[in-house]
Each structure stands twice: as C-alpha cells, then as structure tokens.
C-alpha cells in the first residue's frame, strides 16, 4: 500500500487514482472530526464533502509531503467549522434532531442514558479552551499523532502534549461535576 507521502506526490501530479486513495484513507477521519462537534450527522457529512472539494481544487498545485497535506486538511476543516459557527451566530438555525429508524432504535431507557452522556460530553467540551478542545479532537476523534496535531495547529509538539494533559484533566473535572 502506498504511503500518504507517495499518494500526495502522485495526486499533486494529477493522478486521479492517487486522489481517490487519499480520499479513502482520510475521509472517515475528517468525518469523525466534524461528527464530534456537530449533532447533525448529515451536516457533518456535508462539511466533510466540502473539505474534500477544497482538497480536490488544491492538490494539483500542492507542494508538500503527506504530513503537510494532512495538517493542511485539518486546518481547512477547523476553519470551515469556525466559518459555519460564525454564520450560525449571524443567522441562528433551530436544528431538527434525526429520528432513528424503528428497526435500529435502541432501548428507550438506554437511549435516554446515552443522550445524557453525549449531552454532558458536548457541554463539557464546549467549556474547554479552543486549543484544548482542538487537541483532544485531533488526537482522540481523528487519531492524529502529536506531530501531525502540532502541524495542524501551528504549535510545537511540547505544547500539544501540555494541551492534551490540561484538556483531559479539565474534561474529567467537568464530567464529574453534578
């Protein structure tokens, strides 16, 4: 299997198969980034599609290795999410929650418990600093390494480790609050 470095090199030269392979490798990770920050799964899919459209336009002229590309991809994802939040603040939208299909709906009592946990995590995450939240998302939702996270956030690796530690500790404290 080709490395991401090789796929980026070939895609930058116009190789559509290489771009397709990059999409396959990275799509789910970008989706998890948005899904962790958005309640609406369809919106997370749309945002993911938008990021890859940006990548499609940018790759034929991209000059960098695989790590640089991954960092760039998640920088775009972060900026797109920030732009969406700004637009939502200007034009508030009342989201409609998805109703699960009947044949996959979990036990109602468990569903309530799950929703509470998700709500608590959501609320706690929103109370972290932006940097702490981004580090936790990129490391635990997306699975980026410290080096990849550092490049995406334009911070040194030592800062990423510190933010990871502080973020987890703050999150644990918030989740334990009554």
């Amino acid at each position: 299997m080709d490395s991401i470095d090789e796929l980026v090199r070939r895609a930058a030269a116009g190789d559509a198969d290489a771009f397709g392979a990059l999409f396959d490798r990275l799509h789910d990770r970008v989706y998890r980034y948005f899904a962790a920050r958005m309640r609406d799964r369809a919106e997370a899919e749309d945002m993911t599609a938008t990021v890859f459209l940006e990548a499609a336009h940018r790759l034929p002229q991209f000059r960098g290795d695989g790590r640089a590309f991954v960092a760039w991809l998640f920088t775009v994802a972060r900026h797109d999410l920030a732009d969406l939040r700004r637009r939502e603040r200007r034009h508030p939208v009342d989201p409609v929650e998805e109703v699960p299909a009947e044949d996959t709906a979990p036990d109602p009592a468990q569903q309530v418990a799950d929703r509470l946990d998700a709500d608590r995590l959501w609320a706690a995450l929103n109370r972290l600093t932006d940097d702490q939240r981004e580090v936790l998302l990129l490391k635990f939702a997306v699975g980026l390494s410290n080096e990849e996270t550092a490049r995406a956030l334009h911070k040194p690796v030592t800062a990423v480790k510190s933010l990871q530690h502080r973020g987890l500790a703050a999150l644990r404290r918030l989740l334990e609050e009554p």
Binding site: A11, H27, Y31, R32, A35, R41, E45, A49, L53, D83
Partner: protein, 253 residues
C-alpha cells in the same frame, strides 16, 4: 493536579505505549482518552461517502485539467464567453471543448456535481459581498448553460436553466443589499456591465429558441435589468440542495 511538563510527558507516554501510567490520576486520564476515542468512533453513511467521493474526483479532474493555464486566460475566457456565445448562437456552431462538469446541463450525470461545486464555494464564502459575487458568477454559468442548451439542440432544459438564473439573480440582489456600502458599490458596477452583456446574449437567444422557450427568455431579460423577476411573476423555487439529488439516499432534512 497538573504539576509540570513531566506530567504531560508521562501521560503522553502512557497513552502511546499502553503501559500502566505511573500515577492513579494519570491512569484516570488515560481511561478518559480511551473513552473519548470510543465515543467519537462514528462512521459516515456509506452512500453519502460514496457520493462525496464521486463529486470530489470530478472536481479533482477539473482542477487538474486547469493547472498550467494562466489565470489571465481564465479571466479573459469568462469575460468574453458572452461575446463568443452570441457568435455561437448566430453561427449555430457546437460548444467549445470544456471539462465535462463545466459542459454539463440539467439531466446530465455530472450536473449535480456542478451544482455541488457551486454550493461548496458558497459555504466557504466569507460574508455577503463574497456571496453576492458568487451568485453573479453562478448567473453567468446559467447563461452559458442556456447557450449550450440551444447550440446542442436541448432547448427542453431551458426552463430549468432559466429558473436557476432567476434564483441566482435574486440571491445576488439579496446579498448586495446586505453588503457594506463600498462592497455594494463595487458589486453594482460589476453587475451593471455583466447584466448588460447578459441581456445581449438573451436577446440573441430570443431570435433562435423554440416558441415554448421564449417566455422564459423574456423573463430572464427582465431579471437582467437588475430588478429581479418582473412584477406579478412569483420568484421561482430555490433549486434543490445537493443531498436531495444523491441517488439512493433519502433526504434527512
């Protein structure tokens, strides 16, 4: 309690190596990290991902084909497309070669991808002025489609194209009205030039389209006079969102 960089390093080692953390408080953070990974292990809808892949590949092929063409050539192409269109209409020639997505018309397999690309640009637009500029470009794209539809003998798609032209012009007006004064003035100046050209192209089309398409062309000419749809004619419905055109995927909203 967070003490110093040593704690951050110890936690990171424990997370990476899966070996027991040196202290109970760090072990608790490792467990929390594992829980986050499990909680956030969401999978996208397979059909949506497959559709996104097709659209992205189409966009990539278009972008790759454009690399190396000087920007000024691209600009000149847009500015003169209307003049060339008039010649095309009069001479009855075939449409110039262009990437498949750009050439596509309503009903073509690539057309939803074309609209998705336009929509993606709007998602990324920063502010009303940027959106207005994009809608003006979208209106020009609809005009090109109308010309191509006529030249390829597909006047049947003209009503769809012209309805989208109306919508694009209306949205342009809305966003200009919300832009700041300087941006609005710049946009108005650009629109005055472009809509004049639009009217010329539409007037040329009026001379060659089937009778059934003439009313739509006449309304588009009125819209291009910068007043939106003429009074007494309701604005057309906003063209469907991309997710409504994904094959096999029911709309979620």
């Amino acid at each position: 309690m967070i003490r110093n960089r040593a704690d951050a390093e110890a936690l990171d080692r424990a997370l990476a190596s899966r070996e027991p953390a040196p202290r109970a408080d760090l072990a608790a953070l490792v467990r929390l990290g594992d829980e986050l990974t499990e909680t956030w292990a969401a999978q996208p809808d397979a059909a949506a991902a497959a559709y996104g892949r097709r659209v992205a590949l189409t966009a990539f092929s278009t972008a790759a084909a454009r690399v190396g063409r000087p920007a000024r050539v691209r600009l000149r192409r847009r500015l003169t497309v209307a003049a060339a269109s008039i010649l095309l209409i009069v001479a009855g020639g075939t449409a110039a070669a262009a990437p498949a997505v750009e050439r596509s018309l309503p009903g073509d397999a690539a057309y939803p991808a074309k609209l998705t690309l336009e929509r993606a640009r709007h998602v990324l637009a920063a502010g009303d002025a940027a959106e207005a500029s994009l809608y003006l470009s979208d209106a020009e794209a609809r005009l090109e489609e109308a010309v191509r539809a006529q030249s390829e003998g597909r006047a049947v798609v003209m009503p769809d194209v012209l309805a989208r032209y109306h919508s694009n012009v209306r949205r342009f007006e809305e966003h200009v009205s919300r832009s700041d004064r300087q941006d609005a003035a710049d946009l108005e100046a650009r629109a005055a030039r472009e809509f004049r050209t639009h009217r010329e192209v539409l007037t040329a089309l009026l001379g060659v389209v089937p009778d059934s398409a003439r009313p739509g062309i006449e309304r588009a000419i009125e819209a291009a006079r910068r007043g939106g749809p003429p009074k007494g004619v309701g604005p057309p419905e906003e063209p469907g969102r991309p997710e409504q055109t994904r094959p096999g995927v029911p709309p979620t909203r």
